[in-house]
Amino acid sequence: MYNLRRFILKHHFVILFILLEVISILLLARSQNFHRNRLVSGTNVVVGNIHEMGSDVGGYFHLRQANKQLAEENALLRKQISVVTDTATNTYTLLDHDTIYEYIPARVVNNSTGMANNYIVINKGKVDGIKRDMGVISSEGIVGVVTDVSLHYASVMSLLHSKSFVGVRFKNSQQLASLRWNTGNYRFGMVEDIPTHVELHKGDTVLTSSYSFIFPEDMMVGTVEDPSVSSTDALNKAEIRFATNFATLRHVYVIHNLHKPELDSLKANFLDK
């Protein structure tokens, strides 16, 4: 016992170092799971408030750009409405129960783009109806998936994450593929699992596929930048340029799929059998 005490006193510096490193790595390993520790996910009230103060100040410098973006989006939506009202006339009216997706506007209060695993914190939380696994989009394209929710904030796993995975579709060929991020550059993602017979060209549009319950079908993802990324597999890869500019991200929408409980219960039944 005496020897143990002497040993600890003699090597207390190294022992404390190892202890603290083990704690750090355990915390880090746990946070690599999809569901993360609330205290340190950037969604607790004190941290959220400080971030929001910072983004309030920073926001003024981007007002002009934000305005322009919102105006462009408005114009696009107006155009789409006119098409719908033209074709719908009297035979079809939009009813509440026809709406599958609801959009909850939110503001980005913290964001990173340069890490191997990037997260975004937004200023809407449980009280605003945000739940885990909801999709997040910007007016330019898709952004990520909600991974953690506190009362007033939520943290979003950005597309710029080593575990990010989205089902996508090429607009021209209808070919399904999957989007990952391993380029290290916040402008570019990698579409994988493309059969070799599919011809790709620079500038081809990539959209979300209909098999995702997180994003609505045909949401903008990006455009093909480099179709000739060689691969030893039987399947091709292509580098795409994200439609969303993650570095200037400010206003986003969280997607609430009203049919999700129904789809989930169907899926659960399927898995049971």
Binding site: L20, L28, N37, T113
Partner: protein, 173 residues
């Protein structure tokens, strides 16, 4: 007591400066400067080593709360605090640190400080970017981040230190 207060102020200011300003610097996606480690660099040389270690962990953990990465910065700053005594010995050589309490440019000179800052920043960034990728799959990217971020961090830290030392000199004259 006065010194404790100064350290607390430094701690808060550096963490806030890091998470509200420096974290928003984006130069091509690979450059990620970190300046909050100044806190560890400026701690008194005579402070017990275990205290430096604990403060390093706490500092990193506070930054982690903001960036949403539990254990990441804490691990890196702990390693940095662990290496500080060796780095102090390494960069000092024959120079004696006996009558130096707090490392400062005025007493130790610019070149000494540059070496000191560069060594510690390298240790910190190395640990940070490796822990962050949490795998050896993306080695190339990790090295690119380290190589590009270290010079920027060192430059920013030296600039901040020079600015503060200038302030001190003006007060004393």
């Amino acid at each position: 007591m006065n010194k404790t207060l100064l350290n607390i102020i430094r701690f808060v200011v550096l963490v806030l400066a890091q998470v509200l300003l420096v974290n928003h610097i984006r130069l091509g996606g690979y450059v990620h400067p970190y300046i909050y480690v100044i806190f560890i660099m400026l701690l008194s040389v005579t402070m017990p080593k275990w205290q430096v270690l604990t403060l390093g962990f706490v500092l990193g953990f506070c930054v982690d709360m903001f960036t949403g990465t539990p254990g990441l910065h804490a691990g890196a700053t702990t390693l940095m605090a662990f290496c500080r005594p060796s780095v102090l010995r390494l960069v000092s050589g024959h120079q004696k640190l006996e009558n130096v309490h707090e490392p400062n440019i005025g007493q130790l000179g610019g070149p000494w400080f540059l070496r000191y800052v560069a060594c510690l920043v390298l240790v910190h960034h190395f640990a940070l970017f490796f822990l962050e990728s949490f795998s050896f799959r993306l080695l190339g990217q990790v090295f690119l981040r380290i190589v590009l971020s270290v010079p920027v961090s060192v430059f920013l830290i030296m600039m901040i230190l020079y600015l503060f030392d200038l302030g001190k000199k003006k007060e004393s004259h």
